[in-house]
Amino acid sequence: MSLTSLPARGSAPRPDTAVGPLPTPAESAAYITSLGKPTAAEVLGRCRAQGRVAIQPRCGVGGHEEMKALLATLEAEVAPDILTLTIDSHTRLLRFEEALRTLNLRPTDLNGYPMVAHGWRRGRELNELIAAPLEIRHGSPDARVLFDVSVASGITSFEGGGISYNLPYSKAVPLAESLGAWQDVDRRCGELAEHGVVIDRELFGTLTAVLVPPSISLAISVLEAVLAARVGVRCISVAYPQSGHLAQDVAALRSIPVLAERYLPAGITVHAVLHEFMGVFPRQRGNAEDLIFYGALVARIGGASKLITKTYQEAYGIPDTAANVAGLRLADRANSPLLDFVTVDEDQVDREREWILAEVADLVEPLLGQADLIGAIVEAFAEGRLDIPFSASRYARSDLIPRRDRSGAIRYLSTGALPFSPAHVRRNTELLHEVDGPDPGLDSLTRGLTDDINHFRHVFREQEPSAAAPRSAPTPVAAPHTPRTEEPI
């Protein structure tokens, strides 16, 4: 990994707290087996068989004792099917020194659990405290150290991918590097599988979370899944972020088994996972809770194996334990046996799914055939044949412009250099003409994009859409084109 891409101290020796050499993969596998608790993959399989959407929170605090209390309380109060260690941003970016310093000075200043600073022995302590399997959720373009600590801790589910944990999570890590680092992680999963332990690998299809078109999310997951499967990953969770449009979300979730069938080798278990709405959340508790329940219901109808929940404090900051409990409890209501009668317009869902599958095909099929898939992906992003909106990284162009159509579904206003067939471009354009007319002015376009970002705040009338009530005071508006980011020297 190049010096420019991640701080040199990223590879600094692991802090003192992470005592002792790491166990070997064989030792970790033996430890996991000896734990006598189900792996995440087993829980997902069992939930799918029961027709229950597994429920999982995000949760991570800096201090170890606080983390224990958090997990123990969540398990005691709601017994989520899978529990989480959300990792702090320093650790994610290999800023281990900063993570350790903040941990020592003021652990409450950390926005997650600094797993590497705490070390694998403490990881085991967490794991042994809790009956549910644990997953590491982070956002690290290079998660090799973190992965090793996690596996040594006996943790059986690990989120991320070489694209999805790079572009939304860092500025200057070349894709080739992150893809390479994640191939290493996936390879280690293969090794562990040979030792009898299947690690569930969740791919972060949520990406930049704000107005991500379903076919972008799924195409990137397909690519990551193919790469993972090639080096031995056996259980893949494809996470999709709720867009907020019922038919589109159900269709996207139901596309996942089809995509797996189409693009992955046989023998790989693939789960669909829904991330409850990942964009700008409503601020009022009741509205946030409406959205939380809606997400959970979408997961059920879409046949997801698992749901990652949000809380009514989402708009404000990392939730306290009580809010996390409330979010889990509410989401679990969508698993109610009394809601079997809730259905969707199946025709509409089928139509959406066909379009999604066709768009994904446009995006991935030109790449999947190529000998050097990683090289092909890197090149595609450089040329805009793959892209994501609102990239945090300079390695995606963010030339594509998403908008919501009249029904609230996310469409492409501009497809940039994405290799979509003319029919697909036309369909998207037509759907959006309904909203802005054939040739929207720059102003109405940017106002509209901002409104789309704040979609649910408008749905709940926490804020009037700007078209309806043009603002008098200057307010930020959305960039129709990516703003210029100066290259650092």
Binding site: R95, R101, S170, G317, A479, P483, T485
Partner: protein, 157 residues
């Protein structure tokens, strides 16, 4: 992403600001929007984007000594650790213009004023709640600067 030229600020950029997101923070959306907003108002925005350490802001200041302000967003709650070194950069004269910070300035959903106090102590000059307050603050800062220049001129005369 960076190679797309800004097609909006067609008037010759007269006023320059440096913009970025704090070191450990990859939240990009507000950054995209603020850059576009300021450019729409005619500012020349040097946008360093996400994950920008203090060192990188200081280097940008060196390259753009005419910048009127350094504007830093932070959403992920790590602003305090991420701005470590800001006071040193200011004391050593590597960052001379005012530093404006906004976003979500502490971890957790219950906020009090203590986070702001810590930031002022760490070298931040102004904390804003909403990006729409930026133009007003930048205008005030300009007045201050001009007044200071006049005072300086008077003193020198």
């Amino acid at each position: 992403m960076p190679s797309v030229p800004n097609q909006l600020s067609q008037s010759p950029a007269t006023r320059k600001v440096i913009l970025g997101v704090a070191a450990s923070d990859s939240h990009a959306v507000a950054n995209h929007l603020i850059a576009f907003f300021l450019r729409g108002l005619g500012f020349d925005v040097v946008n360093l984007g996400t994950c920008t350490p203090v060192e990188e802001f200081a280097e940008a200041c060196a390259r753009h000594p005419e910048a009127e302000a350094v504007i830093i967003g932070s959403l992920n709650g790590h602003v305090h650790e991420d701005l470590r070194g800001l006071d040193r950069a200011k004391q050593s004269g590597r960052i001379t213009c005012p530093v404006i910070v906004g976003g979500n300035l502490s971890v957790g959903s219950h906020k009090d004023g203590s986070s702001h106090d810590r930031l002022y102590a760490a070298g931040v000059d102004h904390i804003l709640g909403d990006p729409s307050e930026l133009p007003g603050l930048l205008a005030e800062l300009q007045v201050d600067r001009e007044r200071a220049a006049v005072t300086l001129g008077l003193a020198a005369s």
